[in-house]
Symmetry: C2
Subunit: 189 residues, 2 copies
DNA sequence: CAAAAAGATTGACAATAGTCAATAAATCAT
DNA sequence: ATGATTTATTGACTATTGTCAATCTTTTTG
């Protein structure tokens, strides 16, 4: 099994050699180029992605070409265009890798296989889901209670890597503000 | 078991008579008055609430007394101050019942009991969690991509009960806007 | 390495939304 | 029911943020 995935699982789940092999067989390695599109909006997101290296960006585009970043996934984390993946409906979001990336890809069917076959896998998955849900609740909180400056400061505190690694444009649309506003926040503060 | 809870579970989980009794014993009925506070911010949310009648409001207050509604839970749905409940940390949010309500209350320990004892319970719980997570992702989307008018229109389409049943003030802070702005949106539109 | 492309900054202006205050309407509790 | 309290609406003004455009900087790629 890929060491990064092994580390991700850590002591949350003890796998027998057979089960470890099963997990290993379900996750397929994929390498992407900078800005490569993995899921096009309108198509169904059929995979979960574990990021070994690089990052993924789940983003929305409107008719005028404006983009908004719904979600960012860095090294050691899993994600996808979740509503599409779960509901098996065409995704309103696209997924791209802003950096050249190394991914481990898990299909929906293989996720179900692991959930059903490996005792404890569903509990681990569920606990991860709870944490992701909490993160999204906290993002909602920041959006409904704070102005753009406060949101930027929080992001700086909690996920400075986003600000360091990604272009201003993406940071801005992750925060739900224009890139000009972000630029002004950075100079003023 | 309470018929509303039975309906909530529906065909998602077939319970043996013993397990049905176990579920029934874990959920305690609680009646609340209008605007009663169930969880005070700063305390730990130790329960999950199933709303039989009425509704619950999970909300934030700042130092100036401004309120923001993080989450609303209507009949037939479950919820709590989720980050506090899961992380067992003091809640930044409070919970109140804006209407007199009938609730079924499940403690953290009893939730774990059901998760561990009843085969299939965790799967049902996990599927519910996935849907709640999806709803929160969609709320983030509306907050980062739409202006207040568009958000109001979406809310009208997707959850008109919120607008019909709850005071303007709560609708406004659920949308992340001031109540004056909401009032103007309604008259203009 | 150089040309081209993409991203970042800044200014001027417009639009959206917030605040404060006064009044009107609706709702609650006795 | 009615007085009291809360909630909703409206106006005037302010503050924040967005848009468009120009310029400057950085990054990419042939």
């Amino acid at each position: 099994m890929h060491p990064a995935l092994k580390q991700h699982i850590g002591d949350k789940l003890i796998l027998s050699p057979e089960h470890e092999l099963l997990v290993d067989n379900c996750f397929k390695t994929r390498l992407t180029k900078r800005n490569e599109i993995l899921v096009e909006k309108g198509s169904i997101a059929r995979h979960l992605y574990f990021v070994v290296k690089g990052c993924l960006r789940v983003f929305l585009t409107d008719d005028d070409g404006n983009e908004s970043t719904r979600f960012l996934i860095f090294e050691g984390r899993m994600g996808t265009a979740f509503p599409s993946f779960i509901l098996k409906e065409p995704s309103v979001a696209s997924i791209q890798s802003p950096e050249p990336s190394e991914l481990l890809v898990l299909s929906y069917a293989d996720r179900d296989l692991l959930l059903n076959e490996i005792p404890g896998f569903e509990t681990m998955y569920r606990l991860g889901l709870e944490l992701d849900y909490i993160a999204s609740i906290q993002r909602i909180e920041s959006l409904i209670t704070m102005d753009s400056k406060a949101r930027y400061n929080i992001l700086m505190q909690t996920q400075p890597e986003i600000i360091k690694r990604l272009p201003n444009k993406i940071v801005a649309d992750y925060l739900g503000i224009s890139q000009e506003t972000l630029s002004r926040l950075k100079s003023k503060k």
